[in-house]
Symmetry: D2
Subunit: 136 residues, 4 copies
């Protein structure tokens, strides 16, 4: 299964006056992980700029499990969980600590993205080789 991990340190601008990371800021962490995952799948930003083929997020789900705070190092694991004709599903786990099993789970998210050809905005078929990223 295609999967990547990144780490991000919580900045002041990620937090709100509740003292914890704002529910909106987590989506920046998710976008960074999604970009890294698509790069791993052959769609890095240079490739997207050339092909003008972009993944457009059409659905986001996120469950906030435990608050992260200023200075926390948040690990984000992104994996490709489903490939359909014109869309793919990515799953994300955000956690603090040495490894995801022993760490503290901060949030879980899922995003569905559709491939869109710019500038027409027309949907495009997902590359057939992406199906191979799912098995086992």
């Amino acid at each position: 299964m295609k999967q990547i991990s990144i780490s991000e340190t919580v900045m002041f601008y990620d937090t709100d006056c509740g003292g914890v990371v704002s529910n909106i800021a987590y989506l920046r962490f998710v976008e960074r992980a999604r970009s890294a995952l698509f790069a791993e799948m052959g769609m890095d930003i240079a490739a997207m700029n050339e092909s003008q083929l972009f993944p457009a997020v059409i659905r986001t789900e996120i469950d906030y499990r435990f608050p992260a705070r200023l200075g926390d190092v948040v690990n984000i694991t992104a994996s490709l969980s489903e490939v359909q004709k014109v869309k793919v599903t990515c799953e994300f786990r955000l956690w603090i600590g040495e490894c995801v099993e022993n760490g503290k789970l901060i949030a879980e998210a899922k995003q569905i993205a559709a491939l869109v050809q710019m500038p027409s905005g027309r949907p495009r078929r997902t590359p057939s080789e992406w199906l191979g990223f799912i098995d086992s």
Copy 2:
């Protein structure tokens, strides 16, 4: 049913280089509508500052239906759809146009919030009068 509507004009900072509103920016629109809805339910910011009782978002779902663009006036309707012991569910419709029926639906979202007593972070029961906001 408790329901409010607000309008927001799309700013440059709400858009991304795809030419449309960023999937993250929609959550600012949702937060503004949620704040207005909670104010209508008796929890405006002054009341929250005094009671130190805050709604913490524990889940967000959002479906992006149609892209909004720079200068669009986005209407956001927020309604309270469920009241449970320690959490409530709010639903949001974002649309462009004269009315939600004839307008263009931009996005739909749902958020679940839990009431939290600060600074302890303990969950609190939802006010019993909120149940009355749901019927009919």
Copy 3:
């Protein structure tokens, strides 16, 4: 002198864990006021979309005088203070209270914007009628 005023209520996403409005968030308030000022000068977003002529910010200065907090209503006054061949200077005052004289000054900012023709990115001359917006 061309001048406009707007008001914004501080949202959770505008604050950081210092309990006050983030230094970055003030620039959203400034951008909203700048957009309203340019609309007053004949460059609203519809006009910009048609002409493809946009003001690009080339310099920002901001002094943070006093912290604003969650729920504060921040008033922002924007005025056109200088018109040059290819750029204009806008000045901003952000304050809380009934009027700018008796209110609490939160921040002062200045932005220089150049008119840019898209998609070429070429600089364009400021409209000659804008000089009339400065005197007295």
Copy 4:
């Protein structure tokens, strides 16, 4: 002279519909560099959390020289340029390319920060050893 460098890749959420990095997004890059510089000076986030002594930005100046775009790797160099009794000045250069001399200068910024003791909000003297970070 105390100086650090970091690199950031431009994400979708950093850009706006002009196709380039939003003038507001640059301040996130600056904040990341400022955090790294203060860590180098002995004030990392763990130390700040313990001492409750925080640098509050009281002035920002930023000149936008050349637009950065999606996927660009922006290098940010931050240096401590002045130490006064209760405030310090930091200078930032943002550039693209192999080195700052041969690279493309994207933006230059300056921030003045005052040390503030939380929760009282009282200003505090800058540590005397910081003067040693300036010479030569």
